[in-house]
C-alpha cells in the first residue's frame, strides 16, 4: 500500500478518536453543568476547555464562560481549528484520501455521519439540541469502528487504522488524567483524602468508564482506585494499559506483514519494560504527573516512528 494512503488511514482514525473523545468530554461537562450552580458551572466549563486543550483559543475570543458559548466553540467555531466540526472534516478528508484502502461500508459510515454532523452544526447549537448533537458524534465513532471490525481485511490498512486509534486514545486519557488530577488535587498530600465525587465521576464519564468502574468497585470512589482503573486495568478498553497492548499487537502485526521490525517496534519494547509489572504505588512514588508526561512523550515518539518506518511522507 502507498505510504500516503497509510498516513491517511492512520490520521483518519486519530481524528475520529479525537472527535469522539472531545464529544465524551463535552457530554460529561454538560452533565456536570446541569447539576451545579452558575459559578461552579463556569468553573466546570473552564476545566472542560483546559482538558480539551482549547482554553487559549477560547479565551482569546470570549471573556466569560457560559455553557452555550463553550459548547459552540468546541463543536463548531470557525476560529477553532480543533472544533469537532473541523476534526470530523479531517476524518472525512483522510477517508477520501484512503478511499481505495477502506471498505465501502466504512466509507459510507464516515460519509453519512459527516453529512449529518455538518448539518447539525450548520447553525449555533442551542440547549435543546446539544445532547443530541453530541450523541450523533459518538454514534459516528461507534459505527465507523463497527464497520472497520466487520468489513475490513486484516491487512496493513486495518493495523494502521488501529494504531492511529490507540495512539490517540492513550494520549487523550493521559491528558485528561493529568489535567484533572492537578485541578482536583492541588497537593499530592490530598491523595487518599475524601474527594469531590462529582468531579471524579465526571472524569470517569468523559472516558465512558463510569459504569465499568462502579461495576468493578461497588461504587467506591477514590483517587487511587480511579487512577489504577484508568492506567492499569487492561480489561477496560479506555485504559492506558489497554491502549498500550493494542498498539503493541498492531505494530507487531505490521512488522510481521513487512517482514522486518522498525524503530516503532524498538520504542514499543522500551515502553514495555517501563510498564510491565507496574503497580499503582509505583506510579504514585514516581509521581503521577511525571509518569503521565513520560507516557505521552513515548506515545508520541512511537507515532512519529510509525510515520518514518512506513514512509508516510515523501
Amino acid at each position: 500500500m502507498l505510504g500516503r494512503t497509510a498516513n491517511g488511514l492512520f490520521w483518519m482514525f486519530r481524528y475520529l478518536e479525537r472527535a469522539e473523545n472531545t464529544a465524551r468530554l463535552l457530554d460529561a461537562g454538560l452533565r456536570m453543568a446541569l447539576t451545579r450552580d452558575l459559578v461552579t458551572a463556569e468553573e466546570e466549563w473552564r476545566s472542560v476547555m483546559s482538558t480539551a486543550g482549547q482554553r487559549t483559543g477560547y479565551e482569546a475570543k470570549h471573556a466569560t464562560y457560559t455553557g452555550m458559548q463553550a459548547w459552540n466553540f468546541i463543536l463548531r467555531d470557525k476560529d477553532n481549528a480543533s472544533s469537532i466540526l473541523a476534526m470530523f472534516g479531517q476524518v472525512r478528508q483522510n477517508a477520501r484520501l484512503a478511499r481505495n484502502a477502506i471498505s465501502g461500508e466504512l466509507w459510507e459510515a464516515i460519509n453519512e455521519n459527516w453529512l449529518a454532523i455538518k448539518d447539525q452544526l450548520a447553525k449555533p447549537v442551542g440547549e435543546n439540541r446539544v445532547l443530541e448533537t453530541v450523541a450523533t458524534i459518538r454514534r459516528a465513532g461507534t459505527l465507523a469502528h463497527g464497520a472497520l471490525e466487520g468489513s475490513m481485511l486484516r491487512d496493513e490498512s486495518y493495523h494502521f487504522a488501529q494504531a492511529g486509534t490507540f495512539i490517540e486514545r492513550g494520549d487523550s486519557i493521559a491528558r485528561i488524567l493529568d489535567i484533572k488530577y492537578y485541578l482536583l488535587l492541588p497537593s499530592l498530600s490530598y491523595v487518599g483524602s475524601s474527594l469531590d465525587t462529582g468531579q471524579w465521576d465526571q472524569v470517569l464519564r468523559s472516558v465512558s468508564g463510569d459504569r465499568a468502574y462502579r461495576w468493578l468497585n461497588a461504587g467506591q470512589i477514590d483517587a487511587r482506585g480511579i487512577c489504577k482503573f484508568l492506567i492499569l486495568d487492561d480489561a477496560f478498553p479506555r485504559s492506558l494499559a489497554f491502549c498500550h497492548s493494542e498498539l503493541r499487537a498492531n505494530l507487531a502485526a505490521l512488522a510481521r506483514l513487512h517482514g522486518r521490525e522498525g524503530e516503532s517496534n524498538a520504542l514499543m519494547r522500551e515502553a514495555d519494560t517501563r510498564i510491565a509489572d507496574l503497580t499503582i504505588e509505583d506510579v504514585f512514588d514516581q509521581g503521577l504527573h511525571e509518569f503521565l508526561v513520560d507516557f505521552m512523550a513515548s506515545n508520541a515518539a512511537i507515532g512519529n516512528a510509525i510515520a518514518t518506518d512506513y514512509r508516510f511522507l515523501a
Binding site: 478511499r99 481505495n100 466509507w107
Partner: protein, 475 residues
C-alpha cells in the same frame, strides 16, 4: 407523455404508442403510484450523497461538492440498435488509434493530401516528444468516450470524440447501482445488459497494454491530480473498483529507470499508469516545469518503453473539433470503409466560403471553439440574444481558425420524471470504449446526459444537465 413532432421521441411513437424498446419499462411504470415514485426520486439523491458521488466545482469553496442531478427514467436502447452502434464505434475508434500512430510517424494521411498539415502543426495538443515513438502495444487511445446524438429511428451522429481523458464512467456505474437498489423488480421484468464489470474490463485492458518489462501481473495505478480535482471521486472509485493504487505525483519518482511508487515497504515499480492528469502537467522536466502533479523524468522512462501511460500523451489532438470535421476522411483512409457512424455536418470557419456561410447564418447554427470543451465558449444560435450573436460574430471574424459551426440538431428526447409526470427532454449518449492491442471492448451502456430544462439542448453537467441510467436490452 405525448411526443413532439419536431423531435424524435425515443419512448413514444408520433401517434402516442410506446416504442418497442420501452414497452417493458412502460408496463411497469403504469403500475406504479405517483406518490411512491416521487418518494423514490428524493431517495435517489440521498443515496448519491451517501455514497459520495459528487463533483467539486472549480473556482468555488474547496468544501463545495455538488451532485449531478439524476433522473430515474432509464434511457433504453434495443439490442439491434446497440449492435449497429458498436460496429460504428469500433470502426471509428480503430481509425482514431491508427490516425494517432500515423500522425506521430510517417504522416501518410497528410502526404496523401487528405487532411491539411496546419491541423496539427498549430495544435497545442500535438506533442513533438511523441514523434517516432510507439507506445507499448501500439495503443494510443486506451479509453475513449464517443459522444453520440440521435435524431431519428435510425439516425445516430457522432458529436465529439473524447480521446484525451473521457470522464463520467463512474456515473454509468453508480446510476445503475442506484436504479437496481430502488427498483429491483424492474430488473427482474426487463432483461438489461450488465455494466458493472466495466472496472474489471478496464483493469484487464490496461494490463494487456503493459510494457515488456512488466511481470505476469502488471501493476496498474490511477494517477489523480488530488483530492480537490473536480473528478476526484471518479478517480478514487475506479482505483477502488479495479483494485489499483490511487497515486498522486508526489507518490511517484523515477527509480532505476522505472516509475516507482512510494509504498509502506519502499519504492515499487509501476507498469501502467491510468492518468487523469493532463499532458502538460505529466512531467515537469519535459512540459510545464511548475507542475507538482506529475513525475519528473516520466517521459524519459516512457520513451524507453518501460511504462505505459494511458491515454498516451499527445492523443488530445483527436479531441480538436477541426480534426473532428475530418473524421469521415480519417475513417475511410485507415479502414478503407465508408464511416458507419456519420459526423454532424461541420463548417470550418478556417475556410473562407464556410466562414461566410456561418456568419450569414449565425442565428441558425451552433458555433464551437475548436479547442473548447464542457459546453463552455459555445453559441447556440436559435437560443442566443442578438447581442450574444454579435459578440460571436466579432470573435469569428477576429480568429476564424478558432471556430467551427454545426447546424442546430434536433436531438432526440427521452422522458424525465417531473412533478407532473413524464416530460420529454433532450439527451445525448457517451459509450465508453476500451482499446488494447488485440481488442476493442465496448461496455453495453454508457452515460446518458439529459438537459433538464424544458427545450434546452445543452446536456453538460456544468450547464444544468443531469444523467440517466442507460439500458441496452438483451436479445
Amino acid at each position: 407523455m405525448s411526443g413532439s413532432a419536431d423531435y424524435f421521441d425515443e419512448m413514444r411513437e408520433p401517434d402516442g404508442g410506446v416504442r418497442e424498446a420501452y414497452t417493458g419499462y412502460c408496463h411497469w411504470f403504469n403500475d406504479q403510484e405517483n406518490a411512491l415514485l416521487r418518494r423514490k426520486h428524493a431517495e435517489a439523491e440521498t443515496n448519491f450523497r451517501k455514497t459520495g458521488i459528487t463533483f467539486n466545482v472549480y473556482g468555488e469553496d474547496e468544501a463545495e461538492e455538488r451532485l449531478i442531478p439524476f433522473d430515474m427514467v432509464p434511457r433504453v436502447i434495443s439490442a439491434a440498435e446497440w449492435r449497429k452502434l458498436t460496429r460504428g464505434i469500433e470502426q471509428r475508434v480503430s481509425a482514431l488509434n491508427a490516425f494517432m500512430h500515423d500522425l506521430y510517424h510517417r504522416q501518410e494521411i497528410i502526404r496523401a493530401g487528405r487532411i491539411p498539415e496546419r491541423l496539427f502543426s498549430n495544435n497545442d495538443a500535438w506533442l513533438p516528444h511523441m514523434v517516432g515513438f510507439t507506445p507499448p502495444g501500439g495503443v494510443y487511445t486506451h479509453i475513449v468516450g464517443i459522444d453520440l446524438v440521435r435524431t431519428g429511428p435510425d439516425e445516430f451522429y457522432v458529436l465529439e470524440d473524447n480521446a484525451r481523458t473521457p470522464s463520467g464512467v463512474s456515473y454509468m456505474l453508480e446510476n445503475r447501482e442506484t436504479m437496481m437498489a430502488m427498483f429491483p423488480e424492474l430488473f427482474m421484468r426487463v432483461p438489461v445488459e450488465q455494466v458493472s464489470d466495466y472496472p474489471r474490463r478496464l483493469a484487464k485492458s490496461l494490463a494487456a497494454c503493459a510494457p515488456d518489462c512488466a511481470g505476469g501481473k502488471p501493476t496498474v495505478a490511477v494517477l489523480t491530480p488530488g483530492i480537490y480535482n473536480s473528478a476526484y471521486f471518479e478517480h478514487a472509485f475506479l482505483a477502488d473498483q479495479m483494485g489499483a493504487e490511487l497515486v498522486e505525483g508526489s507518490d511517484l519518482r523515477v527509480v532505476d529507470g522505472r516509475v516507482a511508487m512510494r509504498t509502506t515497504c519502499g519504492y515499487q515499480p509501476v507498469d501502467v499508469i491510468y492518468r487523469r492528469v493532463d499532458d502538460e502537467f505529466l512531467d515537469p522536466l519535459t512540459f510545464n516545469e511548475d507542475s507538482v502533479l506529475g513525475v519528473p523524468g516520466i517521459m524519459d522512462v516512457y520513451r524507453a518503453g518501460r511504462i505505459t501511460i494511458a491515454n498516451a500523451p499527445g492523443t488530445g489532438v483527436a479531441d480538436d473539433k477541426a480534426i473532428y470535421s475530418f473524421m469521415p476522411e480519417i475513417v475511410e483512409f485507415y479502414t478503407g470503409e465508408k464511416p458507419l457512424l456519420p459526423n454532424v455536418e461541420t463548417y470550418r470557419c478556417a475556410d473562407d466560403d464556410s466562414c461566410k456561410y456561418v456568419l450569414d447564418n449565425l442565428a441558425e447554427l451552433v458555433v464551437k471553439e475548436v479547442h473548447g470543451s464542457g459546453g463552455y465558449g459555445m453559441l447556440i444560435g436559435p437560443a442566443a440574444s442578438k447581442k450574444e450573436i454579435e459578440e460571436f460574430r466579432r470573435k469569428i471574424v477576429d480568429k476564424p481558425n478558432n471556430y467551427i459551426a454545426q447546424p442546430t440538431l434536433a436531438l432526440s428526447t427521452c422522458p424525465i420524471f417531473t412533478r407532473k409526470g413524464l416530460a420529454p427532454r433532450h439527451v445525448d449518449l457517451r459509450p465508453f470504449v476500451l482499446v488494447s492491442p488485440d481488442k476493442i471492448d465496448i461496455t453495453p451502456g454508457g452515460l446518458t446526459r439529459v438537459a433538464l430544462k424544458q427545450g434546452s439542448l445543452v446536456v453538460n453537467s456544468s450547464q444544468g444537465g443531469g444523467t440517466k441510467d442507460t439500458w441496452v436490452l438483451k436479445d
